[in-house]
Symmetry: C2
Subunit: 213 residues, 2 copies
DNA sequence: GCTCCCCTCAGTGTATACATAGATGCGAAA
DNA sequence: TTTCGCATCTATGTATACACTGAGGGGAGC
């Protein structure tokens, strides 16, 4: 792997997983020593992180990990809602019916995924991610997919703001199932509405300190 | 101005104004010679352009100006519609009534701006830009504004795909006036609907080879 | 004559040296 | 004692040298 790519991936992971909390100073010389590469690829990585909004230039000198708080979450969800509702509408028009029926079946059955001893909820989040991927693919819009991709980075960070809550995750799985079913049925209006409902529930639980996938 | 900033601004302008058409190879050594800076700031500029989608890595080696065609325009407008409709709704809720009433007045009077001998339609596009800025500010959503900002770069490129059409511009001004009025009235539903109508008209005229601001 | 392999070269990837600007701390003066 | 100014220093901005990879062309073999 290229050194610049490695530096970027490492820093991005560290920021998203809160190993580098907001406000952390990203000094080029220190990072190049820690990551074992020279300053040039580190600079490239910092530029990419800044473009994504994960880092910010600090008063014209230096770079710091960008802050994210519950104040920002409402704005983030407003954008998310706009993008995901539209994606769901487009997906409902162009979808492969069988794909979303299968996702619907799996999501209805997701309760089992949450009863086992998987503390990271890995299998659940993977299924939710598959729904996102399927919607992006069915929507067939490169620009929309790109906008959603850059948005999801921030959403992963936000997820760490609060603890997972099994009962909320089960509700969320059901809501995801509603979305998948509406898309399978080719009903754009219902798909958009189900997405709106899901995001509103997620946001409220998140602001209450509950779980919000 | 910093060399990297200068290189970025120059290349960005050249790409947006079609002086560097899609497919143009952006070679680091050639650019550093042409721009009078070393390869380091050129690399920084190319990285930023790639992140914005104005340039693309070519088969793992080199960078080329990204293509944009009428095939992409529909996708671009789909994303634009999702973002601008939501922005209009938010603006309608939080707006300063007087600001948008004033914009409405100016837009209703925009016919005069188009009758004079301004071939670049500078004064008209400036007014349209003021409406965009006012909506972004009233919406009060940093993430949404950022998404719209990165989208508008591509829209400027698209504008060059077709010639300006005075009669379409006059219609567009009226549509903009409708949007401003709905926002001034605090009616989110109408603001969103007016935006949808405006974008649909713009897209259809663009695809017919007419003007589309 | 065609195809495959090797050599060359061009251009990117990385490292490092040097320039420069902003910040910080210390000292002096009011 | 406090404030202002200067010096120093640290971290970034830029340039350049070197390494390496991938592509393209030419030659040889089948």
């Amino acid at each position: 792997m290229r050194a610049g790519e490695k530096a970027y991936a490492t820093l991005r992971g560290d920021i998203v997983d809160w190993r580098l909390p907001p406000g952390t100073v990203l000094a080029e010389v220190e990072l190049s020593a820690r990551l074992g590469v020279s300053r040039t690829p580190v600079r490239e990585a910092l530029a990419r992180l800044t473009a994504e909004g994960l880092a910010e230039p600090q008063s014209g000198r230096g770079t710091v990990v960008s802050g994210i708080s519950l104040d920002h979450v409402e704005e983030l969800f407003e954008l998310r809602s706009a993008l995901e509702c539209r994606a769901a509408e487009l997906a409902a028009r162009n979808r492969d019916r069988e794909v979303f029926l299968e996702l619907h079946r799996q999501l209805c059955d997701a309760g089992r995924l949450l009863t086992d001893q998987d503390p990271t909820r890995h299998s659940y989040y993977r299924l939710a991610g598959e729904l996102d991927t399927a919607i992006d693919a069915a929507a067939g819009n490169h620009y929309l997919a790109q906008a959603l991709k850059s948005l999801r980075v921030h959403l992963v960070r936000v997820r760490r703001l609060s603890k997972d809550n099994p009962s909320r995750l089960r509700e969320a799985a059901r809501e995801h199932g509603d979305i998948a079913l509406a898309i399978a049925n080719g009903n754009a209006t219902v798909a958009s509405a189900a997405t709106t409902v899901h995001l509103d529930n997620s946001l409220r639980h998140l602001l209450q300190g509950g779980a919000t996938p």
